[in-house]
């Protein structure tokens, strides 16, 4: 138990966060790369075609993990925003602001691959159904969080708190995206896979495997990229502190 408490306190302080996460970057990057390569090859060449959509459904192996990440990262931003707002933790601010561009990227990727998939299957790139509209709003929320932060540039800590407020309020959009296909009629189909069990729409393991591998790959990519950015964020915002000096002169 003591170890967990110690670890928690270490991760909360910028110098030890910087030191500890330095060891994680390389393994996360290697894992992300290896899993992406394996997942894409598995998904594009070894997974069987779909009985309805043929080979077109393979874009799912990018679209679905990207969509999961767009929600997952926003949830992290919201929680970090709450911690930053109430407890004023610097590391939470760093993680929040480091996550925003990555989340925006995954959201844009989700929208883009969705459009490319929608045209041949549904017959349209875009339509204002609840799922697509709420995912587009998510992209605007990410941009809003980043925009508010950079608009207030004389005090990064205050800027982070303002951005946190936007992030927390935006959390309300997550359940709307998740349940949009159940609450309202839409062109987008329901969820094929759910954490809460229920009927799975993908029962074939050779189809499910690349999807899960890609989901894992995007998680590791996020961790790698986010930690990298968060470390830089801490160096920048703490540049007058002695630990940054020590860190930079050591290397």
């Amino acid at each position: 138990m003591n170890k967990i408490v110690k670890f928690y306190h270490e991760m909360g302080s910028p110098p030890s966060f910087y030191r500890i996460t330095g060891y994680w970057l390389k393994p996360f990057f290697v894992l992300a790369l290896a899993l992406t390569v394996y997942g894409l090859i598995d998904g594009l060449f070894f997974a069987p075609p779909d009985y309805q959509q043929g080979d077109s459904y393979r874009i799912m192996f990018v679209h679905v993990p990207a969509a999961w990440m767009s929600l997952f990262i926003y949830a992290i931003i919201g929680v970090c925003g709450l911690i930053a707002f109430v407890w004023r933790m610097k590391v939470a601010e760093a993680v929040m602001m480091a996550s925003a561009p990555i989340g925006a990227l995954f959201t844009a990727l989700t929208l883009l691959t969705g459009m490319l998939w929608g045209k041949p299957m549904w017959g349209t790139y875009w339509d204002w159904d609840a799922r697509m509209t709420s995912e587009l709003i998510l992209l605007f929320l990410y941009i809003g969080v980043m925009g508010i932060y950079s608009a207030y540039d004389d005090d990064p800590r205050k800027a982070a708190r303002l951005a946190a407020l936007v992030a927390i309020i935006g959390l309300i959009n997550l359940p709307i995206i998740r349940y949009s296909v159940e609450w309202w009629t839409s062109i987008h189909q329901g969820a094929s896979i759910s954490l809460m069990g229920g009927n799975s729409g993908i029962k074939d393991w050779s189809m499910l495997r690349p999807l899960l591998v890609m989901a894992l790959a995007t998680k590791f990519y996020y961790l790698y990229s986010m930690l990298h950015r968060a470390r830089n964020y801490l160096l920048r915002t703490e540049q007058n502190k002695s630990w940054v000096m020590r860190q930079l002169t050591e290397q």
Partner: protein
């Protein structure tokens, strides 16, 4: 927890609660507008916007698809197993369009009986499987 932190936590909780309630009220009030399409049951009960186009969604009824010769015109029935609406469409249908599949048609009611579609979108479900598995499932269902 220090009093300042407690105050901030209460403040932010109230903000979240307020926004959640406002959103819930908003979404309930505009529930009809959030719906992407009307079902055949609603349409046959005359519950559709007059004088403007709307979306009709349902299944293409098995055995109802008719192609009109020497043209791109097709006729089919859209059903939700409660009611049917006849649809007429001229143009290219999406790849996934087939009998027994979900479809969303954008158009207007030319009469009480006929929906004239300007655009037809296919809708697919959340099930993915290899063709062999689908074949096995189908042969199991048939006997």
């Amino acid at each position: 927890m220090t009093p300042t932190r407690k105050r901030r936590l209460i403040l932010i909780s109230l903000v979240i609660f307020g926004v959640a309630v406002a959103t819930a009220i908003f979404l309930t009030a505009f529930k009809d507008n959030m719906m992407f399409f009307k079902s055949p049951t609603e349409v046959s009960a005359q519950d559709y916007p007059q004088n403007r186009s709307f979306r009709l969604g349902g299944m293409v009824k098995e055995g109802s698809l008719k192609r009109i010769e020497n043209s791109l015109k097709v006729q089919f029935d859209v059903t939700d197993y409660g009611a049917d609406v006849a649809v007429e469409y001229e143009g290219i249908l999406p790849d996934l369009f087939r009998e027994g599949q979900g479809v969303v048609a954008i158009g207007y009611m030319a009469s009480d009986q006929l929906f004239v579609a300007e655009e037809v979108l296919a809708k697919h479900d959340e099930n993915y499987m290899p063709p062999e598995v689908a074949d096995v499932l189908q042969t199991q269902e048939q006997p």
